[in-house]
Amino acid sequence: MASYSARDVHEDRAPVGMGSRTDRWWIEPVLVILTLVSFSAYAMWRAFEGNYYDSLQALERGAREVPLLLSPFYSPPFHEWFPGFKERFAISPALFVLVFPLSFRATCYYCRRSYYRAFFWDPPACGLPEPGMAKRKRYTGESAWPFVLQNLHRYALYFILIVVAFHYKHLYDACFVMGDAGRHFGIGLGTMIMGLDAVLLSLYVFSCHSWRHLIGGGLNLLSSAPIRLRLWRIVSALNARHGLYFWLSLITVGLADLYVRLVASGIIADPRII
């Protein structure tokens, strides 16, 4: 059984490590690491691939009719606004697009919680002693460089709001198909996937803590602004599930891109529903 002497004691306290957790606390950080690393690897591969992001490409490969799907990794469509971008700068336009969701997610309060735990071990799990304390620098958290920059999360929010609008524009486009008869209305599995992506991204963005503050959290007299009060209540309800929406929207955005890649490269044909 554990014991200690005055030598192990810091400031008259019992040593932090004594009698600490033996449950399976490591499951959560392991899942976080696996999910974030595999998503980042996939996103990087797709960005550098710089191909198969527009389903129209399938027409060149002999498909007769394709839905108008654009990968969310290429939205807003910088590649349309600046044609020849890739050739001129020798980098994929996706890297420019990715800056927006990446900065939003990296500074997201929920995501911070998860990576400070899983990657920085600050702490690895609640109540667990932090490993390597002797070698660590004096802890300053988010009060000093570099993590003080997390306070700029609201600016990442402003940009992601634009991205959300574009996701709806692409959802609208996805309600059409292009074929021999030209462009006409048509709903397929791709439309559903784009719809799911747009809705879950919206739930994630509109449950954001900075958004909640902007909508009404910063007011002390909420009763004097009844519309903001009502909105604040809705956002607060969404906010309670912010972490869930973080993961779901991360998965669906990857899924939407994967689906577009499969259709654009001609591996699968989009099943039409209407």
């Binding site: 600050d122 702490p123 003080v148 503050h213």
Partner: protein
């Protein structure tokens, strides 16, 4: 439920200590505090622990059960013993140890004294009236029973020992209750950033996970306070607008 369980209780003080095992008979509805009382009454009267209400309302019986801070009076033994019937009970780790399960939490009271109290805005008509929608946020924070479980689990205080820089989650809750009060007139943002050290919290949410009153400490108190501090100190556009419009 098992008929007997084995409690490994920390015995000692700041000069050193050890876990000692006690076998305890169980009964339906037994909580860890009952087991401690049984040890005190039948096996070892020198075991020190602090308690008062046995109803999870006084916040005295905080301890670490199997490594996580909890109220002993709210922890059913059957939820905690392992396959061998063992439960480990230790004192909270963040505050100086007096003896066995009793720690000196007086640092918290000193912190509390340094927080600027509520000051009603001058000229507010009497009797004071407040709309329910304006006070409900603060009402959640008023549920706090000052058990300091959140203070003891917070890694800023627990592992990094930054009691010099950060007030801890319990006092973020208190400051939020004051700062969000509809009639309050005190400006606490600079205090929050400099003296209370809200920036030291890295929102890892352990405080919220252990709070026996289920106060959403990070979501409803600390993060909104961080946003208020960001309005004041970390938002270049707002700062520019404030300067141009001559507002402070």
């Amino acid at each position: 439920m098992r008929d007997t369980i084995r409690l490994r209780v920390f015995r000692g003080d700041a000069s050193g200590g050890e876990e000692r095992e006690y076998e305890v008979k169980t009964f339906p509805g037994m909580v860890v505090l009952d087991a401690i009382h049984q040890i005190q009454g039948e096996q070892d009267g020198t075991l020190a622990c602090r308690w008062n209400c046995k109803a999870a309302k006084c916040g005295s019986c905080s301890a670490e059960i199997n490594g996580l801070p909890r109220l002993m009076c709210k922890s059913r033994v059957e939820e905690f013993y392992d396959a061998a019937g063992v439960i480990r009970v230790h004192p909270i780790k963040t505050f100086p140890l007096i003896k066995d399960l009793v720690t000196d939490v007086s640092w918290n009271y000193k912190v509390a004294e340094s927080i600027p109290p509520l000051r009603i805005r001058e000229g507010t008509p009497r009797p004071l009236r407040m709309d329910q929608s304006d006070v409900e946020r603060a009402q959640e924070f008023r549920k706090c029973i000052e058990c300091f479980l959140c203070q003891t689990v917070c890694h800023v205080l627990r592992d990094h020992n930054r009691t010099d820089a950060y007030f801890g989650p319990r006092y973020m809750v208190k400051i939020a209750a004051l700062d969000m009060h509809p009639l309050d007139s005190v400006e606490r943002r600079s205090f929050l950033r400099r003296s209370a050290g809200v920036g030291y919290c890295n929102i890892t949410k352990c405080c919220q996970e252990v709070c026996p009153e289920h106060i959403h400490i990070t979501d409803n108190a600390i993060i909104p306070l961080k946003e208020r501090v960001a309005d004041e100190f970390y938002d270049p556009i707002r700062m520019l607008v404030r300067r141009l419009s001559g507002r402070k």
